[in-house]
Symmetry: C2
């Protein structure tokens, strides 16, 4: 957690949680640059100066929102997957959790904050972009490492390019988000699940036999 | 073309072209909602009222920018691909053109306008979203139809799900854009090309033999 939280009492933490929950909704619709102190104050029913008691500046608030969104992703996608057995079961659990997360995120008015923030920030150097970039690199490394475990466990064939595999998973995640949110395509779920299945199938040790069945 | 262009003389069309070229650059960085008449006027060295002689209102300007970006995509990705022979060669040409387009778009300060507009507009009902949504559906239908031709020509196996195939292509496009622009990953190109190759390979009529080689 940010060092800025060190002096929080539990009461101000709760208030902060409420503020961040409102901020997440605003960012979900208007983007990270569209988060204004004025609109946020209105949505939580506080004065602007009341808000500033919790966040020193707008960029600190923006960073906290991105940290919160990232932490939520870790809590609902990555951490529960680590309870599944190492190897393919864990990877499958990860993609299933990710799918649920994308649908849950869709219940936020504007969809995935992290995907939107990537598009918004990719050309804006600074601490917000650095944070999102690092968070996504960590995430992709986690997928690569989980893939390597599937090789080590003998589920996937040796020599599989684990980074290529992680890239494919991430591409399908982006595809699902796009087809569901932008195109409102009723087949988005089928496409996502089928592509993930084929990806796992091609990575399996016995894939030559499987594909000639 | 828009009916608003009907009364254009060639001179005002040229001015309009210059305005739209500047507008594209602004949108590429600040998004479609970040396009202000004031900033655009400054960047083309015109007065606001001079701009309004060409565009009746901001939303008309935004729509023209999206139309221009879409037309550019059609001109550099789709149209040249239709010169390649029907079937797999045309599909491969399409993905290669798309790759070049993404790199060219990256030379715009903020990357692909159409991808950014999708994320920005997905939760904002209205004529801009409708336009982008329809343009993307048309695009994906074109890819599906080109895939169907590859089946008809005997290049791809019968029974291949052409919509699933088109979805995979689109997912890899999104993946490439993301890994290159947001993550600045030097392996993005290799990932993209390898995934496209594997996708074509799996779709080929003789893929069972190919995979057991």
């Amino acid at each position: 957690m940010s060092t800025a939280l060190k002096t929080d009492t539990s009461k101000s933490s709760t208030t902060k949680d409420l503020i961040l929950a409102s901020a997440l909704k605003i960012v979900s619709v208007h983007g990270i640059e569209g988060l204004t102190i004025g609109e946020l104050a209105k949505s939580v029913g506080m004065s602007k100066s009341g808000l500033f008691a919790h966040f020193a500046a707008k960029d600190q608030l923006q960073l906290e929102v991105l940290k919160r969104a990232t932490q939520h992703f870790v809590d609902v996608v990555m951490r529960p997957a680590f309870k599944a057995p190492r190897g393919e079961p864990r990877l499958i659990q990860m993609t299933e959790n990710w799918f649920s997360y994308l649908n849950e995120e869709s219940s936020l008015p504007g969809g995935s904050i992290l995907i939107a923030a990537s598009v918004e920030l990719d050309d804006r150097p600074g601490s917000l972009r650095d944070f999102v970039q690092q968070a996504q690199r960590d995430l992709i490394s986690n997928v690569s490492r989980a893939t390597q475990m599937a090789i080590d466990e003998g589920h996937f064939k040796a020599g599989l390019d684990v980074d290529q595999f992680a890239w494919s998973i991430y591409s399908f995640v982006l595809g699902y988000h796009h087809f569901k949110r932008m195109l409102n395509d009723p087949k988005a779920e089928t496409f996502y699940k089928h592509s993930m299945e084929k990806l796992m199938e091609a990575a399996r040790k016995d894939n030559v036999n499987a594909s000639s069945k």
